[in-house]
Subunit: 306 residues, 2 copies
């Protein structure tokens, strides 16, 4: 089973702090790397963590508040300076393309590699990328400007054949594909052999949902239902519930309520306001509703596992 992880590159809201960088995450699925958001300084963090950035083929930008994307132009430029050849696909709001292109034009840069923009919309969830064993789907969020989260999900694996059983029941080679897809088998005497006698249930598809920035938004729970791991912003605590509503951010408790309704496997909290020194208080508020809750740390890697 491929290793499926997320490394937190930055988890501070709006302004970098002494211990937390601006929003960025690296999702790794085997040798495939996906970057989600790219705050200022992300290329330096990637370098510090010795992450091979040329494995990043897809970059997903949630929205155009600077703390989520000001580092993208620098990363794009550095890839050019080190002579990257393989394509980079960037997914984000339409204006992002213009913002990047006028900066490349101002420096008269023609990139050494193909940079392909894919425009997101924030009206309805949409599958925006089919990348090997994974699909990536946008999740409309509720924020001050158009914003989407992202659901990165394994495609269902085929069922595994129990070779001794298929031999015993004389299943022909030509039926194996249907068997892997879950069909029952009828032998030449007309007897029904149930699929689960002949195959083994594959591991359930794993999935990771990134939901930042957003106010409390109930439809999310349905769109990400059953996700293995949910990263949900928790900019504030209950003491600032009104600020959360006004600024269209979430409290730790709201993040946990979404995780509960979604039946998520695990909840990562991040995007913390710089005002909170003791983040265990946010964890406590979240754990009133859901468990397990993790307060992410920059530079840490979390496994997306069942």
């Amino acid at each position: 089973m491929k290793k499926f992880t997320v490394t937190i590159l930055g988890s501070s809201a709006a302004i970098p702090t002494a211990t937390r960088n601006l929003s960025a995450q690296l999702v790794a699925y085997g040798e495939q790397y996906f970057l989600i958001d790219c705050g200022e300084g992300t290329q330096m963090i990637l370098k510090q963590l010795r992450i091979k950035t040329n494995k990043i083929g897809h970059v997903f930008i949630s929205h155009l508040h600077g703390d989520h994307y000001y580092g993208l132009i620098g990363l794009i430029s550095t890839w050019h300076l080190i002579g990257r050849r393989t394509a980079v696909h960037v997914y984000g709001p339409p204006e992002l393309q213009n913002i990047i292109e006028i900066q490349l034009n101002a420096s008269m840069t023609t990139l050494s590699y193909p940079l392909v923009f894919h425009h997101t919309q924030s009206e309805v969830p949409q599958m925006i990328a089919d990348a090997g064993r994974l699909t990536i789907t946008t999740l409309p969020l509720k924020h001050r400007i158009p914003t989407t989260g992202f659901l990165i999900k394994e495609k269902p694996l085929p069922r595994s054949i129990r070779r001794t059983e298929t031999d015993r029941y004389g299943v022909p080679f030509t039926f194996m594909e249907k068997l892997r897809a879950g069909e029952d088998f009828v032998d030449e005497d007309g007897a029904l052999i149930l699929n689960n006698l002949l195959t083994i249930e594959p591991p359930a598809p794993r999935s990771y949902a990134y939901c930042s920035d957003t106010a409390w938004y109930k439809p999310l729970a349905e769109w990400i239902h059953g996700c293995t791991m949910l990263y949900h912003e928790a900019t504030f605590m209950n003491d600032k519930a009104q600020a959360a509503e006004d600024k269209m951010h979430s409290t730790a408790a709201q993040a946990a309520q979404i995780a509960l309704m979604a039946g998520a496997g695990k909840l990562l909290l991040g995007h913390f306001s710089a005002r909170y020194d003791d983040l265990s208080l946010l964890q406590g508020e979240a754990e009133e509703f859901f468990s397990p809750v993790v307060i992410v740390e920059d530079g840490e890697t979390y496994e997306i596992g069942n």
Copy 2:
């Protein structure tokens, strides 16, 4: 006499390294702060060095290669987020204004403070700012895209009155202004009293010249003649003289030759290619022509003194 210093925030060329950030410098003149260039991550460096960024009233951008300005939008945004009220003046190529404004528009941000753009041209030197006791003048440089350096210079100080001498010669109060400006005095008997009997020569005006990025460009030596301290890029050594010419950068030796012809007081070398581990070799090449030569270090402060 006011303290006049430059703090190197970044001195790497093109790509950040483990020990050097992208181009940025803070010039301090008493309580007045001036930022020259602003590579990605500059706001983080300023924070690490505990520099009070609200004292920065002027930002000078040399050119629109990303390693010299990608950090500006983040700094501008952070000032807004912390509720800055005082104006910031930004000097740079005309396209810079559009690049900043479309990013502010994309986030629907109306800044909490006035941001005033001043467009530079790279045809002839031009005084672009008159800031208290200082003037700032652009220095056209020779690079792949329009680029200017900056000369930050004290205005000449008035001469100081020798009170005992002006009493002795009966200089009236109404003549003091002319005395400070250097005029000789004629007393009521028609006798000429030379100015230097009545006044003291003020300290020579101090000045700092920032020249990056540029190929070898001889007119510079005249424009910055007599400067107290010169920061000149030295991207390459003589082993890469051809690369320097092709990419319109300078070698350490060329930087020193400009310092020599300009009669500079001291030469700071920076903007080093990441290829050089042992920068004492660049220093050696420069010292063939000029002394003293300093290989700058990020985070270090250098006094601009006579």
